[in-house]
Symmetry: C2
DNA sequence: TGTAAATATGTCAATACTGACATATACTCG
DNA sequence: CGAGTATATGTCAGTATTGACATATTTACA
């Protein structure tokens, strides 16, 4: 992973610790972060595909527009639960979710 | 889903609301719950497969034995984040995780 | 049987996540 | 250029989730 991306992650509040820690970041942590970003990307794609605005999606899942924006922005305050909820509510099929999990 | 299972879910703190609500439970909610349980099952399988005790797994992911027990018991206080962390820390491969999604 | 290891259950203070709100910025089109 | 719509950002009080701990129960096996 490139240094500028690392800096962005840190600036966004992701607890990656120091650069040294990050480079030694356990495979487990790295995989979890990668998984989250993969699902986030799938949320945005699915929402657009189904022609839903952030407000539409927020209403479907009883959340708020600002929270959908935070999900798609990769805000560190967003849980995996919420990401998957959004993905499901956006109309993604089980196969879509599976592929998001599989994608590197 | 059978009534006794519904009662167990409610007793365990899952917010499924009344029986009527549950029967009308949105497909979204049902899919999320199903996904969680599928992943939980995968955690237990993977931990056993890799010959790890709950204490071993807890140490790997810097959690505690009691929390691992709660994960595997399907405790409603456990987040999807923690379940996936456990799955990854237990040694499950990306393919294992994918299969957990595929499993009904 | 006994007993050591593993797993389960209950609690709680600390922390993380939440929806809601206000407001700012960006994007369409006329 | 506006005006309307969509998305982004910052904040916060309420709620959910956390690791840790004590303790109970189950399991494995001599």
């Amino acid at each position: 992973m490139k240094t500028d991306k690392l800096e962005r992650l840190q600036a966004d509040g992701w607890k990656v610790g120091s650069a040294e820690d990050f480079l030694q970041l356990s495979d487990e942590e790295a995989r979890l972060v990668a998984l989250k970003f993969s699902l986030i990307s799938a949320v945005k794609k699915s929402r657009i595909k189904h022609k839903l605005s952030q407000i539409d999606l927020a209403q479907r899942m009883k959340s708020s527009q600002s929270r959908i924006a935070k999900i798609e922005a990769g805000d560190s305050s967003v849980s995996l639960d919420l990401i998957v909820r959004a993905l499901i509510a956006s109309g993604a099929t089980t196969r879509d979710i599976q592929m998001a999990f599989t994608a590197k």
